[in-house]
């Protein structure tokens, strides 16, 4: 469909790699005539790695192509949400993330030199994972890659090829052809299905001539990660119009390894090169931390932010995920966190389609559900960005009125928006949702992610795992149901003496039966087991209807 990019530069190893993980090795494919692979993933960022891990663990052969040989330096994402960690846990990668990450709950919001108020994320008790951890993105990616290496050793069919840059994609009726450039020259591969995880600038999107509509925020943010041993507390500090004048807003947030994320809002008309001069950056940081604090600049960068998405995430046999499909401003930590949820939503569907157990239109539900998720994230991060960087004099007037009132009036604190932190989305209205049952709690209605809870030998989400599950609470049901070629395993639970299960899944009801999808979202629920109803709901969740 598209011609190869004009100048076929040879992909070379990027200079600043935090970790070299998949050095270039010549593949036999390069000598062959366009070998066919069931799934090719383009891009080994966090989303491409998670997709490869999810598919590979389920036995689906997956080839990942990346134009580098590892993870670039510089942190980008630092806040990883509970749902992203739960998904990584299903993928076997969350342990080291939790161990390395910094857990935080407290936040402080300042205006000028005034502390307006403090907030506590107050995580609900009875979850395996905290609301958030802070972890540098390269570690997050490294832990995903470590897990890939471990499952590869156990036979998972995952292959990652470094220095393999995709230069053209040609969609055909039953496959996609890819032109790939390597240090040994070009070659061709074919994919039954292509997952494009090639980031916000997505060359694949461009090659297919697809749009990426949305809003650009006319503001620049200077990110400085500094290493220091100062004992600031492990809290999120956010300043509107800080007295130290280093930016129109500022953020200070702890990461592992004594590194702190500092973020200054610089405005639109700036000289980016001059602002990145170390002396200039230091002047701003000094003003914030005080001249006596010693620190080392680990990484600096200037960003502008966009909120936008593709109109459709599925384009025939090419499926977009992560930043390639949607981009948000970082206020609210919804970028990588939502990309991980894309993977969670997509991989089980793709596996069933590849195995012929579900029709291709099951993948249209990926599009519908994750577009819904992206819209929710875009709405939230657009609102946060508008509050942080008011666009008109009157919006600034109201913003500052909110901040003034917030110092004394609790109601105004609920309006202050320095980022509504990422929470998973509920697929209300999805075509995969089956019947709901009155009287059961709203938070676990069809489409919602199953909330974690303590169970006899650990945690509910760990007990659920990654297949279709019939979760019964004080209700009878067969241990295994086979229908439409799929096996549904029963997870028998009792809410007796378990207040968390009672509140999250039963409410006032004495018993309930839930059909859970492989991505741990509720498909349907009933007051008791009924074989016909479960078979019908399963058919619906497989898009067989």
């Amino acid at each position: 469909m598209t011609a190869p990019i004009a100048t076929p530069e040879i992909p070379a190893q990027r200079q600043n790699l935090a970790f070299t993980l998949y050095p270039y090795v010549k593949s036999p494919d390069q000598e062959a005539v366009a070998r066919r692979h069931p799934v090719v993933v383009v891009g080994a960022g966090p989303i491409g790695l998670a997709a490869a891990l999810d598919l590979g663990r389920q036995g689906v052969p997956v080839l990942v192509l990346d134009d580098n040989e590892g993870i670039g330096e510089g942190s980008r994402a630092i806040c990883f949400s509970k749902r992203a960690l739960e998904i990584c846990d299903r993928l076997g990668a969350a342990g080291p993330m939790l161990e390395k990450g910094v857990v935080w709950n407290l936040g402080k919001v300042f205006h000028d030199d005034r502390l307006l108020y403090e907030f506590n994320l107050l995580p609900e008790a009875g979850h395996a994972f905290p609301a958030f951890i802070n972890l540098q993105q390269p570690y997050f990616e490294k832990f995903l890659h470590d897990t890939i290496v471990a499952v590869q050793a156990a036979g998972a069919p995952i292959e990652i090829r470094g220095c393999n840059r995709v230069e053209a994609v040609t969609p055909r009726t039953d496959h996609v052809a890819l032109d790939v450039m390597t240090p040994d020259g070009p070659y061709r591969v074919e994919a039954d299905w292509l997952i494009a995880c090639d980031g916000a600038r997505s060359p694949l999107r461009g090659m297919l001539g697809l749009g990426f509509e949305g809003r650009v925020f006319e503001d620049n943010f200077l990110i400085a990660d500094v290493r220091m041993t100062a004992d600031f507390p492990t809290e999120r500090w956010f300043w509107f119009e800080p007295h130290f004048k280093s930016g129109a807003s500022a953020l200070l947030h702890k990461q592992p390894d004594d590194v702190w994320r500092i973020d200054f809002q610089l405005g639109w008309d700036i000289d980016r090169k001059a602002e990145l001069e170390p002396a200039r950056v230091r002047a701003r940081v000094d003003a914030m931390l005080g001249p006596e604090v010693e620190y080392e600049l680990v990484w600096t960068s200037i960003y502008t932010f966009q909120c936008r998405r593709m109109e459709r995430f599925r384009q025939g046999r090419v499926i977009f995920a992560g930043d390639a499909a949607h981009q948000v401003s970082p206020f609210g930590a919804r970028g990588a966190n939502s990309g991980i949820q894309d993977v969670d939503n997509l991989c089980w569907k793709l596996k069933l389609v590849l195995e012929g157990m579900a029709p291709e239109r099951l993948l249209d539900s990926y599009d519908a559900e994750r577009v819904h998720g992206a819209d929710e994230n875009i709405l939230n991060s657009t609102r946060a960005t508008d509050f942080i960087t008011p666009k008109t004099p009157v919006s600034k007037l109201f913003r500052n009125a909110v901040l003034d009132l917030a110092a004394t009036q609790p109601f105004a604190r609920s309006i202050v928006n320095s980022g509504r932190l990422s929470v998973p989305c509920t697929y209300d209205g999805s075509s995969l949702n089956g019947p709901d049952c009155e009287n059961l709690p709203a938070r676990t209605r069809p489409g919602s992610p199953v909330p974690d809870a303590p169970v006899a030998d650990g945690w509910l989400l760990q007990a659920l795992g990654g297949g279709f599950t019939l979760m019964t609470f004080d209700a009878e049901a067969p241990e295994v149901i086979k229908a439409h070629g799929v096996i549904v395993r029963r997870l028998a639970l009792t809410a007796t003496g378990n207040a968390a299960l009672q509140a999250r899944f039963l409410g006032e009801a004495p018993a309930a039966v839930y059909l859970i999808r492989p991505d741990q979202h509720v498909a349907a629920r009933w007051s008791r087991y009924d074989e016909t109803a479960v078979r019908a709901a399963l058919a619906r969740a497989l898009a067989l209807e």
Partner: protein, 81 residues
């Protein structure tokens, strides 16, 4: 599924009901209240007055609370375009 979100979404149960914004006379002492509003701005600079008005809107908005009433009030207040 759902359409791209533009404005806030209304819960279904609100959609067909009449907004309950009071536009009939409701002040117990209109002259007194109006004089108080004007007096509250005395000796404020224009910028201070605008800031005060903004705070006042937010306080009253919170007092009203109901999204439908607020939306109806904004629609009445906004000049036609």
């Amino acid at each position: 599924m759902t359409k791209p979100l533009s404005g806030p979404r209304w819960p279904a149960r609100w959609r067909w009901s009449e907004p309950m914004l009071t536009l009939t006379p409701n002040l117990s002492n209109p002259d007194e209240s109006y004089a108080r509003l004007i007096a509250a701005h005395e000796e404020l600079s224009e910028a201070e007055s605008h800031a005060m008005n903004a705070r006042l809107v937010l306080i009253l908005m919170n007092h009203i609370g109901d999204e439908r009433v607020l939306a109806a009030a904004m629609a009445v207040a906004r000049p036609e375009r």
